[in-house]
């Protein structure tokens, strides 16, 4: 295999890995965009979503798409519940308290799940045909194409919701200034609740799809993808939906190229070096505008 061939194959590998980061990063960035909370529990909500999907498919004997919807609905409820119990009481607390609580929620979900589902990884039954296409010697996986297209469709739907609907307008208002929005008749509590509902449903969708693609799920599966998705969201400009997708794909491609042409040992180091570089050079991310911080 010559160099060019390897390069193209690595780009394909990178985009497909990146589309998974992008899918998780969408929910991350959405929640951050509205309430400025880095929801470190997002990766674990993703894990819970994967388990609900798994349970629906294996014990409920239903096919993958209804299972995906069930998982999204239930996980959305979980997201709203977490917001009510853990984040809402801290709405006026310093932001660091929220961040620490989010880490707490993350551990809580991980180890509660571990207690109930045991640490043994589960394998999804074959619910989707896994076809690989060989295009001129390059291998493209069918499920990965599906994940990529779902990511782009979800991004489009979300952008529409946020930019064009009344709920979206309320979200943007609440994001700009929660209290003033409330004075203008926006029910901020409801808006934030809806944000968590949508964000968690997205995480669930990602969890189920990734579970099906990689074929295994376990209670700690959300940690690393959660962190990588966070990097992706920051890279694209946290709070900006298309930024999350582009950030995810860029991150995936960088990882694949580093693993393929330097050394696979540096792969994660490269991912987090990107985070540090972005924070140093352009903290608002690729798509972010440099705005003056409001006081």
């Amino acid at each position: 295999m010559d160099f060019m061939h390897q390069l193209v194959q690595q780009l394909i590998n990178g985009v497909s890995l990146g589309s998974i980061y992008a899918l998780i990063a969408l929910g991350y960035t959405m929640i951050y965009g509205i309430i400025k909370l880095i929801n470190f529990a997002h990766g674990d909500v993703y894990m819970v979503g994967a388990y609900i999907g798994f349970a629906a498919v294996t014990f409920g004997n239903i096919s993958i798409f209804p299972a995906l919807l069930i998982s999204m609905a239930l996980t959305a409820c979980l997201g709203m519940l977490v917001e009510k119990i853990a984040y809402k009481p801290l709405r006026h607390a310093p932001r660091i308290s929220l961040l620490i609580t989010a880490i707490g929620v993350s551990f809580f979900l991980e180890y509660t799940s571990m207690y109930f589902v045991t640490p043994t990884p589960r394998t999804f039954p074959e619910v989707m045909p896994n076809i690989s296409f060989n295009v001129g010697g390059f291998i493209i996986n069918g499920q990965q194409l599906l994940i990529l297209s779902i990511t782009i469709v979800l991004m489009a739907i979300l952008t529409y919701i946020v930019q064009k609907t009344k709920l979206g307008k309320a979200m943007r208002a609440a994001s700009f200034d929660t209290e003033t929005a409330q004075l203008m008749g926006v029910d901020s509590d409801k808006v934030i609740s809806m944000t968590f509902c949508i964000g968690s449903a997205l995480a669930a969708a990602a969890g189920v799809l990734v579970g099906v693609y990689y074929n295994t799920i376990d209670p700690l599966m959300g940690i690393m993808p959660g962190l990588k998705a966070f990097v992706a969201a920051v890279l694209g400009g946290i709070g900006i939906l298309p930024g999350a997708v582009v950030g995810g794909i860029v991150l995936g491609v960088v990882e694949a190229l580093v693993a393929g042409f330097l050394s696979s040992t540096f792969r994660d180091a490269a991912a987090f070096a990107i985070l540090i570089l972005v924070l140093l050079i352009k903290p608002s991310g690729l798509f972010g505008k440099n705005t003056n911080e409001k006081v």
Binding site: L17, I20, I85, P119, T120, I139, N215, T216, M224, G260
Partner: protein
Amino acid sequence: MFFSKKKFRLASMIACGILASALFTGCGGGDSAGGGGGEKAAGDEIVIGANFELTGNHAQYGANANNGLKLAIKEVNDAGGVNGKKIKIVEADAKSEAAESVNAATKLISDDKVVALIGPAVTANVIAESQVATDNMVPIIAPAATNPDVTVENGEVKPFVFRSCFIDPQQSEVMAQFAAKDLNAKTAVLYLDSSSDYSKSLGKIFKEKFEAEGGQVLMEEAFLAKDQDFKAALTKLQTANADVIFVPAYYEEVGKIVKQARELGITSAILGTDGWDDSKVVDIAGKDALNNTYFCTHYFEGDEEVQGFINAYKAEYKNDPNVFAALGYDAGKMLVNAIERDGTDSEKIRANIESIKDLQVGTGKITMDAATHNPIKGIVVIETKDGTRELRAKIAPEG
């Protein structure tokens, strides 16, 4: 509003409390003593400690080994116990961390007054624990820690540390010879888990042995435990076009590696070690992907002499045992045998484990090598064909 302000504050404080406790479980000491239930040890029961990774990254290995141990002890107790006394297992959680393994061992020894320890499953955690056990003169049997350094330090055997499995150099040697002789491989690439000492040491020894057989190791790549996507490194390994790929790692990653390698069109033989030994590999990788893969392990499930253990395990836990369960079971049987012969004095237990000879345990007959504290037992090489395992070679114990 559902709550009054006061109630709400209370609710939020409770929630914070729960979260904080969840957050800090990772840092706590060896847990409180749980009421000091072990004091009656000298009476009508013998207390042994099970120090396994019940939570954290290695929980799946620790929990299985723990199940195997519990089954062994249950069988003994159901048959009337040892010399008329029942055996009680006190469990402690090594939390998949070396420091926690030490804490758990200390707690078991000083609070629960255990006469011996079984576990943990993973090499690093056993090595950490072995100092505490040696200082307190409490024997340990590590079920699945295959690193040579577990029982030996600076060339001298640790008097109180034993294991119930073979050691890594044997595995790498068997697989290197298998690759060179049975598969006629001239070239190999290594794909190692750089977060695991197990994988790294196996890779190193495989390289030595394979080169000694006249083969060539062309490339070496690494991944981390819990990785999901291996395609980038596999694409790179593919460029070497080697006869075999050696992946000494644990089954969860192995399943995904084999699946993704075959998706990328890599058809070479993929070789592994006992970390592969779990039926889940087939579920994860898929039947077709696993053709032309070989790994060595502790027993072959089709063997006559292991049927007793497998059936007992299935009856107890309603699923198939994996290798950790089998080795946990063996460790339990070895300990019981030692206690049976001369009581619970720790020095006597130590001497009696050391002198185990031709003891029938779950995976076959074992004899303890007093010089190294490694059991002398056979290794099997297993080939997976269309999802079922076939015995490819059986290497008899040396010496």
